[in-house]
C-alpha cells in the first residue's frame, strides 16, 4: 500500500538516491546530501510548527508500507520571492506600426519580472522509475493539493508550477544557448545546478535586465519558448486537467512555461467531499485502475496522510476502509476524511 506522508530527516538516504536518478532539469532536487538534509529539516520544521509562510516548505514522501523510505517526493513552497528574488520572463508583445509605410510588425519580447512573488509553488516532484505505475504520479502530485485544501490559510490564493523546458539528451537547452549562456558564461546543467543548490545571487548579478526582443534569439530557442521537455508532457497534462493554465511567464533559464491556477479552482479540491470513516474488517478491496481510484486525505497537518482507495468504497456520506487503510491514513471510525476522484472524470472520457 502506498501512502503519502510528510518527509522526515530519516528519509535522507532514499531522497539522495532519488536525486541521483532525477538528473539535470529537476532544479529543486540537487543530489547534494547537505542541501537535501537542509530541505528535509526545513520541511520538518514547517510541519512541526506553523512557521511564517515565506519560510514554509512542505516536502511529502511517497512510501510503500512494505518498503520503508521514500519512493518519490513532491513539495509545496508556501511562498516564493519573499526572502530572495524570484525571476521569470514575461512573454509580451511589442507592436511597431507606420501608416505612412503601411507596415505593422509584432515582436515578441521577453520582460524580466518578479510577477510570481508571494505566490505558492508546487515543485520538487520526482517519482522513482520503479514506482511509476497505477496512478502513483497522480497521487504524489495531487496529495499536495489535497493538503492545501484543509490548510488554505497557509498558502497564497494562487498556485503555480514551473515546467521543465526543452533540452536534448546532453542537457543542452536551446533557449539557454541563445540567451543565458551569453550572459552567464556557464553551461545549462551548471547554472541549473547552482540555482538548485541555492545560490541565486548570481542571477541578479549576471542576468540581462532589459527586455529581450525574441527575433535576436536563434530559431531553435524561439521554437522552444514556453514548450515543455518531452518527459514533462505527462506532468503538464496532469496539471492541465486540474485547472492549471500557462500564464505567459517562462523560466529564465530554459524557457519552460509557468502554469498557474487559483487554489479554489483546482479540480481535485473543488470536487472533493468529506466522508465519515467506517472501518470494515470484512471489506476485501477490489484491485483498481487509476481511473477508478479515489484520493483520500486524513485532513491533518503534521500527521498528514493520503492514499488511494477504490471508488466503490463510498457508501453515501461514509467511506469504507480496511483496517490496513485506516492505519495507513492514521484514522479511526468516525473521523472525517476528504476524498476526490484521482483523475478528472471528463479527462478520462476524453482520453
Amino acid at each position: 500500500m502506498l501512502i503519502i506522508r510528510p518527509a522526515v530527516t530519516g528519509d535522507l538516504g532514499s531522497v539522495v538516491e532519488l536525486a541521483k536518478q532525477a538528473g539535470v532539469g529537476v532544479t529543486s532536487l540537487p543530489p547534494i546530501p547537505e542541501r537535501l538534509q537542509g530541505r528535509l529539516e526545513q520541511s520538518e520544521k514547517s510541519f512541526r510548527s506553523r512557521i511564517k509562510p515565506e519560510h514554509a516548505y512542505y516536502l511529502f514522501a511517497l512510501e510503500d508500507t512494505e518498503k520503508p523510505g521514500a519512493a518519490g517526493v513532491s513539495a509545496i513552497q508556501a511562498r516564493v520571492g519573499l526572502d530572495e528574488v524570484w525571476y521569470n520572463y514575461r512573454v509580451s508583445n511589442c507592436v511597431h506600426a507606420s501608416s505612412e509605410l503601411g507596415i505593422h510588425q509584432q515582436t515578441s519580447t521577453l520582460y524580466l519580472t518578479n510577477d510570481m512573488t508571494d505566490c505558492s509553488e508546487i515543485c520538487t516532484l520526482f517519482l522513482s522509475p520503479s514506482a511509476r505505475q497505477g496512478g502513483n504520479g497522480h497521487l504524489l502530485s495531487k496529495a499536495r493539493m489535497m493538503f492545501m485544501a484543509d490548510h488554505l490559510e497557509l498558502f497564497s490564493e494562487k498556485l503555480f508550477a514551473e515546467m521543465r523546458g526543452v533540452s536534448d539528451e546532453q542537457g543542452v537547452s536551446p533557449f539557454w544557448e541563445s540567451l543565458g549562456r551569453k550572459f552567464f558564461s556557464l553551461d545549462f546543467p551548471q547554472a541549473d545546478f547552482l540555482t538548485g543548490a541555492g545560490s541565486k545571487a548570481f542571477i541578479a548579478e549576471l542576468m540581462p535586465k532589459y527586455p529581450i526582443y525574441l527575433p535576436f534569439l536563434s530559431e531553435e530557442a524561439r521554437a522552444s519558448l514556453a514548450q515543455v521537455h518531452a518527459h514533462t508532457r505527462p506532468a503538464l497534462a496532469l496539471l492541465s486537467d486540474e485547472g492549471f493554465r500557462y500564464n505567459g511567464l517562462v523560466d529564465i533559464f530554459d524557457g519552460g512555461p509557468v502554469v498557474e491556477v487559483f487554489v479554489s479552482d483546482i479540480r481535485c479540491i473543488r470536487e472533493s467531499r468529506k466522508f465519515y470513516v467506517v472501518v470494515s474488517n470484512s471489506l476485501k478491496p477490489d484491485p483498481f485502475e487509476s481511473g477508478e481510484a479515489l484520493l483520500v486525505s486524513n485532513r491533518r497537518f503534521e500527521d498528514y496522510r493520503a492514499t488511494l482507495v477504490h471508488r466503490n468504497q463510498i457508501r453515501d456520506d461514509s467511506l469504507l476502509l480496511t483496517p490496513g487503510q485506516a492505519t495507513g491514513l492514521q484514522v479511526m471510525a468516525g473521523d472525517v476524511v476528504r476524498a476526490t476522484e484521482l483523475k478528472a472524470v471528463q479527462a478520462e472520457e476524453a482520453g
Binding site: C94, H96, L101, I103, T109, K182, F183, L206, Y210, Y213
Partner: protein, 337 residues
C-alpha cells in the same frame, strides 16, 4: 578650375547626373527628383535668409568643374541635426555583469537609442564623382565647409558631428541592419535607407525598438560592423580624423556606421585658416592652398597656389580672384591644402 559654392535650384539636372554617375545611394540626397528638388529649394532658402528656416538652415554646396561645366561633388551642413525633429543614434555603453561567487566578469556592451546629438551641426551629403577621387577635390569639398564655419562661426554650435557610412555588401545589404532594424521595420536596408531620406522621420519613431539592445545578441557579422566604416568611406573617415574628428560613442541606427565628432574651433582647417588681404598677380605660384571669399550667399572657395608668407597681404592669381569675386584689398581666408 574647381569652384565650391552654394547649390541652387537650377543645379537639379547636374546633381541628378552626378548621383547617377556615383551609383551609391545617399540617404540625405535621394535619387528622387521631387525630393531632390525640395532639398535644393531648402538649401537656396537657407542661404537667402528665409525666416522660416532661421537657426535651422540646411546648407548644400556643390563643387563645379568650370572647365567641364559639370557638377562633380556635393556636401552639406545642417545647422541642427534632425532639423527640429529627433536625430536618432545608438549610444554604446557598457554594463559589467559580475559575480564573485562564480568568478564571472563580463563586460556587456549595450546600445541605447539616443537623441542626444539632436540639434548639433551636422556634416552630410558628401558625394564626389568617381573620376575625381584622387584629386584635391575631396579636400575642397569637405574643407570648404570648415572655412564656412570659420567665416560664420556664430551660426553654428560648439561641436559638429558627421555620420560615416557603415558596412554593406555588394548587394546593398547591411549586416547590422539585417540583425537589428530589419526585424522591426520588415524592410531591406536599401528601402529603409531610401525612406529615411524621402519620408518624414515619424516612421523611425514608430518602428524603432525602444528598449536597449544587448550587442551580444546580434549576429557576429552585425557585431563586427558596429562602429565600422564602409570601405569606400574609410578614406573620408581618415581625412576627417586628420582634421581632428574622433569617433564618439554614437553609431548609426540603420547600418551601425560610426559618428565622428569635433569641436569646431579644434578642426585643423578652422584653426589654421588666416584672413588676409589680396593683391593681384598674373600667375599663381607657391604652395597648394585652399582659399575662399568671406561671403555668405555668394560664398566661393577653390584651390590655388599661394606664396608662403606670414604677412597680411597675399598675392592671388587674377583668374582665381575673379572666380571668388574679389578685388584688390578685399579679404579672403587661406589655408594650406
Amino acid at each position: 578650375m574647381l569652384s565650391f559654392r552654394p547649390a541652387k535650384v537650377t543645379d537639379l539636372d547636374d546633381i541628378e547626373k552626378l548621383l547617377n554617375a556615383v551609383g551609391q545611394p545617399l540617404s540625405t540626397l535621394p535619387a528622387n527628383r521631387e525630393a531632390l528638388s525640395e532639398k535644393l529649394d531648402q538649401a537656396e532658402r537657407s542661404f537667402s535668409g528665409d525666416e522660416s528656416l532661421k537657426g535651422q538652415e540646411r546648407y548644400l554646396f556643390v563643387l563645379e568643374d568650370l572647365g567641364k561645366k559639370a557638377i562633380i561633388g556635393t556636401s552639406g551642413i545642417d545647422v541642427k541635426a534632425g532639423n527640429g525633429a529627433p536625430f536618432y543614434n545608438y549610444r554604446r555603453d557598457s554594463l559589467f555583469h559580475s559575480s564573485q561567487q562564480l568568478g564571472v566578469h563580463n563586460e556587456v556592451p549595450v546600445l541605447y537609442l539616443s537623441h542626444e546629438l539632436s540639434g548639433r551641426p551636422l556634416l552630410r551629403s558628401l558625394c564626389l564623382h568617381p573620376d575625381y577621387r584622387q584629386s584635391d577635390a575631396l579636400s575642397l569639398l569637405s574643407r570648404g565647409r570648415f572655412l564656412f564655419f570659420k567665416l560664420h562661426r556664430e551660426r553654428f554650435g560648439e561641436s559638429v558631428i558627421v555620420e560615416i557610412q557603415g558596412q554593406q555588401d555588394e548587394q546593398g545589404n547591411a549586416p547590422f541592419w539585417d540583425s537589428l532594424g530589419r526585424h522591426f521595420f520588415g524592410l531591406d536596408f536599401r528601402t529603409a535607407d531610401y525612406y529615411s531620406g524621402v519620408k518624414s522621420k515619424t516612421f523611425i519613431a514608430e518602428m524603432m525598438p525602444v528598449h536597449p539592445i544587448y550587442e551580444i545578441l546580434l549576429t557576429e557579422a552585425a557585431q563586427r560592423a558596429i562602429g565600422c566604416a564602409h570601405p569606400l568611406a574609410l578614406y573620408n573617415q581618415r581625412f576627417l580624423e586628420s582634421e581632428g574628428f574622433r569617433a564618439g560613442r554614437h553609431i548609426d541606427i540603420f547600418d551601425g556606421g560610426p559618428t565622428l565628432e569635433a569641436r569646431i574651433d579644434d578642426i585643423a582647417t578652422v584653426r589654421n585658416a588666416r584672413e588676409v588681404q589680396i593683391k593681384h598677380t598674373a600667375t599663381a605660384m607657391g604652395q597648394p592652398s585652399l582659399v575662399c571669399n568671406t561671403g555668405y550667399q555668394d560664398y566661393r572657395a577653390t584651390t590655388t597656389l599661394l606664396a608662403q608668407g606670414l604677412g597680411e597681404v597675399t598675392r592671388l592669381a587674377s583668374d582665381v580672384a575673379t572666380l571668388l569675386g574679389l578685388e584688390e584689398g578685399d579679404s579672403m581666408l587661406r589655408v594650406s591644402l
